[in-house]
C-alpha cells in the first residue's frame, strides 16, 4: 500500500512488532525522453539524480551521489548513475540503500534529494516519482509524484533522523532549484 505523505508528516520507522527499521531504500524513477530517431535530431536526454547527505549535528559529514557511490563507512550505497531514465513504468532507475544499523553513531540525519542534472523542470519530465521503501519488507513508506511539480529542478524529499534508539522519517517534499545537491545545501540546512 502506498502512503502518500503530506508535507512535514513524520513516520516513525518502528515496526509494529517493536523492532526498528534496519534498512531503507530511496528510489527514483522517470521516463526517458522521447526518441527523436533520425540523425541530426538529437534526443534531449533527461538525467535526474538521487543523492543522500549525511549530517552530524547539522554539519554535512558525507554525501552519497553519482560521484561518490558509497559513503566512506559503507552504510549508504547508491546503485549508480542513470543518465537517461527508464520506461516510466514505476521501476526505480536510481536507488540509494541505507543500512541504518551501520550508520556511524554521530550521523543523526540523512536527507534525500532529487536533482535534474540536465536542467529540465519536473513539469517536463514524464512519470517521475521518488519514494522511500522499507527494504526489509519491500513496503513503500512514502511516495512523491514529481511530474507536474511545477517549474522546479530539484526536490528535498525526506529526511531520516535518529529518534531514541531508532530512526524516524519525516517527509519534506520541498521543491527547490539546483543542478546537484550542493546547490540545495542552503535550502536543506533550515530543514534539519
Amino acid at each position: 500500500m502506498t502512503v502518500n505523505l503530506s508535507k512535514g508528516q513524520a513516520i516513525s520507522l518502528q515496526k509494529s512488532d517493536g523492532g526498528t527499521l534496519t534498512a531503507v531504500r530511496m528510489g527514483l524513477g522517470w521516463q526517458a525522453a522521447q526518441r527523436r530517431g533520425l540523425f541530426g535530431k538529437r534526443t534531449k536526454e533527461i538525467d535526474l539524480d538521487a543523492s543522500a547527505v549525511l549530517f552530524a549535528d547539522k554539519q554535512p559529514v558525507d554525501v552519497v551521489f553519482f560521484r561518490h557511490l558509497v559513503s566512506d563507512d559503507g552504510s549508504v550505497k547508491h546503485t549508480g548513475d542513470n543518465l537517461v531514465g527508464g520506461a516510466g513504468q514505476g521501476g526505480d532507475d536510481e536507488a540509494i540503500m541505507v543500512d541504518l544499523q551501520r550508520v556511524p553513531v554521530h550521523i543523526d540525519q540523512i536527507v534525500f534529494t532529487v536533482n535534474s542534472f540536465t536542467g529540465q523542470t519536473f513539469a517536463e519530465v514524464e512519470n517521475a516519482f521518488c519514494r522511500l521503501i522499507d527494504e526489509t519488507t519491500g513496503q513503500e513508506m512514502a511516495r512523491y509524484t514529481l511530474t507536474g511539480g511545477g517549474q522546479y529542478t530539484a526536490q528535498i524529499m525526506a529526511k531520516v533522523h535518529r529518534q531514541g534508539d531508532g530512526w524516524q522519517m519525516t517527509a519534506l517534499g520541498d521543491p527547490a532549484n539546483g543542478r546537484t545537491f550542493q546547490d540545495l545545501m542552503p535550502a536543506i540546512l533550515p530543514k534539519l
Binding site: 566512506d72 559503507g74 552504510s75 543500512d99 554521530h106
Partner: protein
C-alpha cells in the same frame, strides 16, 4: 521431479493415495491428526497414534521406529476434515533422547503409489523440541496439497495436542507414551536403539549411530562436519533459523515461519556480513564450516563466504570483502571521533569566548559537559568498532587456515602438504595490511596474477625516518630477503615450468639472500652479474616481449621460434641502478610498461635515492610499480576510503625450513616431468 520443500512451502499431490515415508535418527512416534476448518481436533478420536493406529484414510505404525511408512488415502478422509497433520514425537518413556537437538533432521518423503517421490522435506532447525508437526495435507480447489510445517513443541506431545484444541491433551499423550513403552518392551530392542546418551551429543558415536539407524548415506557430509557430528543439516553447513533460535514459538500455536530454515536472517547488520549459509551452487565445492558453528548457537563465519566460481575465487573475494569492511568500519569510527573532537573544541571555545564566564562554575560545568559528550560519543563509536573488528577477527580465524598456498602466510600448515599446483592461481599474497584500530587483525594483501604492475621493494630509508646509515645495510639485507621470499612464493604457486625466474644482481650484493633460490635450483641460471650480465638479461627479455607482442598483434603465435620459453617470466633486479647504463635503464622501463601484457613481471629491489642521478625520467617507473617495504610501513591506501594501511612484508618463521622444503619439492617436480 521431487520438490524439496522448505518450511511453509506447499506442493500439489497428483492423486489421493500417497505414502509418507519418515526417516529419523532414533525411534520416533509417528501420528496423524485431523483438524476442522478452525485448525482444531474435534475430539480425541481424531488422531491416529500407536495405541489407536487407524483413522479413516490414515494408518500409522503401532510402534516407535526410526523408519515409518504411513499409508494415506485422502479420498477416504471424512468430509469435514480440513487438514491432516503428520506429526512426530520422541517417545518419553523408553530412555531415548528427550529432544531433537543433536539428532539428524527427520526426513519426510511423500511418494505416489508407484513409489515415485513427489515431495521431500527435511525438518531442520529442531533443538529443544520433542514433538513436531512436520507436514499438513489439505484440500484446495478440489485437489490435495502438502505443506511443510515444521512446527516444533518443546513441551512434547501434550503441548502439540493442546495446541490443536484437545482438552485432555495430557491424558492422551500419556496413553500414547504408555502404548509405545509397552510396544517397546514387547518387541526385541532394536539394534539401532542407542544406549542412553547425554542430551548434548558431542561424540563421534552419534554420527555413527545415526548412520546405522537411518541408513541415510553419511558420505554426503563433508569432512568438516566431523567436528560437529550433531549437525543436523545436510552438507555440513551450520544451521540457522531453527524454531527456537529465531524466536519463533516452540510451544503454542504460532504462525508458520516462512523463512528458509537454512538461510540467514534477511538483514545482516553488516553490509557484507558473513551469513551462516553462503549461497553456493550445490554442485560446487562446499565451504569449510567454522568449528564453532554448531547448532543451537549463532552460526559463526565460514571460509569461502563470498561469490565466485571456485573456492579460490570465493576466498579471494572474501579477503577483499574483509578488507573493505575493515576500511569502512574504521572510516566510520574515525569520522565519529573527528566529529566528537571538533564539537568539543567548538563548545570549549564557546565557553572561553565569554570572558566573564570563563572562570565561573557555570563555565566549569559547561566544560565538563562538553568533555562528557565527547567521551560518550567516542565510547559509542568504539563499541561499534570493536563489535565489527571482533566479527572480522572471527572471520579471519576461519579464513586464514583455509587459504590455499597462493594466499597463505608461510606459517600456514598448508605448506607442509605442499604440492606444485596444476593451475596458475588467480592471485598471490604479497603481505599483510593493518590499521592502528584493527588490533591484531591482519588483512592479506592480494595481487592478481599475472602481475598487472611490477613490484618495488624499497630498500631505502622509510620516509620521514631519522634512522642513520647503520640501518641502511640492514634494510638492504631485509629488502633482498623479502624479494627472495616473494620470488619463492611466485615459483611455488605456479605449475611446474610455468614461471621462469631471472635475477639481476650486478655486484653480487644480494648473494646471501639469493642462496635459497640458487641452492635449491629453483633459479636455473645464476644471477646475472656485472654490466654485461645486466645487458644480456635485459636484451633477452626485451626481445621476448617484442616477439610475443608482434606475434599476438599479427595473430601469428604459431610463428614464434620453437625455443622461446613460453612460461611467464619474473625478473628480479637487485641493486638498481648499479651496472645499468642508459640503454639498460630504457630497456627496464620498457619491460615495466610492456611486460605485464605478455607475461613478463618485474620485481625491483631499489632505493629511489640512489637512482636520483637519472632525474625525473625514472619517476614514471617508480609510480608504475607497487611499492612494498621490507619493514612495516604505512604507505598503502585502500581503494574505498584511502586510509594509510600499514604494510608488513611476508616473512618465513625464524628457524623454519618451510621455504627450502617447498623449493625442493618444486625442483623435484620439475625433474619428474622432464624424466
Amino acid at each position: 521431479m521431487t520438490a524439496e520443500l522448505v518450511r511453509g512451502q506447499n506442493h500439489p499431490l497428483p492423486g489421493s493415495r500417497v505414502e509418507i515415508r519418515v526417516t529419523a535418527d532414533t525411534p520416533v512416534i509417528a501420528g496423524a491428526t485431523f483438524n476442522d476448518e478452525h485448525g482444531r481436533m474435534r475430539d480425541a478420536g481424531w488422531i491416529a497414534h500407536p495405541a489407536e493406529p487407524h483413522l479413516p484414510g490414515v494408518e500409522v505404525s503401532r510402534q516407535a521406529a526410526a523408519v515409518h511408512r504411513l499409508a494415506v488415502d485422502l479420498a477416504a478422509v471424512p468430509e469435514d476434515v480440513h487438514r491432516v497433520n503428520i506429526m512426530l514425537a520422541l517417545p518419553a518413556r523408553t530412555g531415548g533422547p528427550g529432544r531433537f537437538a543433536g539428532l539428524a533432521a527427520p526426513c519426510f518423503a511423500v511418494t505416489g503409489l508407484d513409489g515415485q517421490e513427489i515431495a521431500g522435506y527435511e525438518v531442520t532447525g529442531l533443538s529443544a523440541e520433542s514433538a513436531v508437526v512436520a507436514l499438513e495435507l489439505y484440500p484446495r480447489a478440489g485437489t490435495w496439497k502438502v505443506r511443510a510445517v515444521g512446527q516444533g513443541y518443546a513441551e512434547g506431545l501434550a503441548a502439540m495436542l493442546a495446541d490443536q484444541g484437545l482438552s485432555d491433551a495430557r491424558g492422551l499423550a500419556d496413553t500414547i507414551d504408555e502404548a509405545v513403552a509397552a510396544g517397546m518392551a514387547r518387541s526385541v530392542a532394536p539394534p539401532q536403539q542407542p544406549a542412553r546418551r547425554p542430551e548434548a551429543v558431542g561424540t563421534e558415536s552419534a554420527g555413527a549411530v545415526g548412520a546405522a539407524s537411518t541408513g541415510r548415506p553419511r558420505g554426503e557430509q563433508p569432512a568438516a562436519s566431523a567436528d560437529q557430528p550433531s549437525e543436523p543439516a545436510r552438507g555440513g553447513a551450520p544451521v540457522a533459523g531453527g524454531g527456537t533460535r529465531d524466536g519463533a514459538p516452540v510451544a503454542g500455536g504460532g504462525p508458520i515461519d516462512y523463512r528458509h530454515p537454512r538461510r540467514a536472517a534477511a538483514t545482516p547488520p553488516a553490509g557484507r556480513q558473513p551469513s551462516p549459509q553462503p549461497p553456493v551452487p550445490t554442485a560446487g565445492p562446499q565451504p569449510i564450516a567454522a568449528p564453532q558453528g554448531g547448532p543451537g548457537q549463532d552460526a559463526g563465519p565460514v571460509a569461502g563466504d563470498a561469490p565466485g566460481w571456485s573456492m579460490e575465487e570465493r576466498l579471494h573475494n572474501q579477503v577483499w570483502g574483509m578488507f573493505e569492511d575493515l576500511a569502512r568500519t574504521v572510516a566510520a569510527y574515525r569520522s565519529a571521533v573527528d566529529f566528537a573532537d571538533t564539537r568539543m573544541e567548538r563548545e570549549l571555545e564557546g565557553v572561553l569566548g565569554d570572558p566573564r564566564a570563563r572562570v565561573s562554575p557555570v563555565a566549569d560545568a559547561a566544560r565538563a559537559e562538553a568533555r562528557a559528550k565527547h567521551g560518550a560519543l567516542v565510547e559509542q563509536a568504539r563499541t561499534v568498532l570493536e563489535r565489527d573488528v571482533s566479527q572480522l577477527e572471527a572471520e579471519a580465524e576461519v579464513v586464514e587456515p583455509a587459504l590455499p598456498p597462493a594466499l597463505a602466510r608461510w606459517d600456514n600448515p598448508v605448506w607442509q602438504a605442499y604440492e606444485p599446483p596444476a593451475e596458475r592461481p588467480m592471485s598471490l599474497r604479497v603481505g599483510d595490511l593493518s590499521l592502528a584500530e584493527s588490533g591484531g587483525l591482519r588483512i592479506p594483501l592480494l595481487v592478481r596474477l599475472p602481475l598487472e604492475r611490477g613490484l618495488w621493494i624499497d630498500s631505502g630509508r622509510p620516509r620521514g625516518s631519522e634512522a642513520g646509515s647503520a640501518d641502511q645495510d640492514e634494510l638492504r639485507r631485509l629488502a633482498a630477503q623479502t624479494a627472495t621470499v616473494l620470488a619463492a612464493h611466485f615459483v611455488a604457486v605456479h605449475p611446474v615450468d610455468q614461471l621462469t625466474l631471472h635475477v639481476i644482481d650486478p655486484a653480487g650484493a644480494a648473494a646471501t639472500a639469493l642462496l635459497p633460490l640458487v641452492e635449491s635450483g629453483a633459479l636455473r641460471n645464476p644471477p646475472a652479474a656485472g654490466a654485461s650480465g645486466v645487458a644480456r638479461t635485459l636484451e633477452r627479455l626485451t626481445q621476448r616481449v617484442d616477439l610475443v607482442q608482434m606475434a599476438v598483434r599479427s595473430k601469428a603465435t604459431d610463428a614464434l621460434p620453437p625455443d622461446l620459453d613460453l612460461a611467464d617470466q619474473l625478473l628480479i633486479v637487485h641493486d638498481f641502478p648499479h651496472g645499468f647504463d642508459d640503454r639498460a635503464v630504457n630497456q627496464l622501463r620498457y619491460l615495466a610498461d610492456e611486460g605485464p601484457s605478455v607475461g613478463v613481471g618485474l620485481m625491483m629491489v631499489a632505493d629511489r635515492d640512489e637512482a636520483r642521478g637519472y632525474g625525473p625520467v625514472l619517476d614514471p617507473l617508480w609510480r608504475s610499480l607497487l611499492r612494498l617495504t621490507p619493514v612495516p610501513d604505512d604507505h598503502l591506501a585502500d581503494p574505498w576510503v584511502g586510509h594509510a594501511w600499514t604494510y608488513e612484508p611476508p616473512v618465513v618463521p625464524s628457524g623454519s625450513q618451510v621455504l627450502a622444503q617447498v623449493l625442493r619439492r618444486v625442483v623435484a617436480a620439475r625433474g619428474s616431468t622432464e624424466a
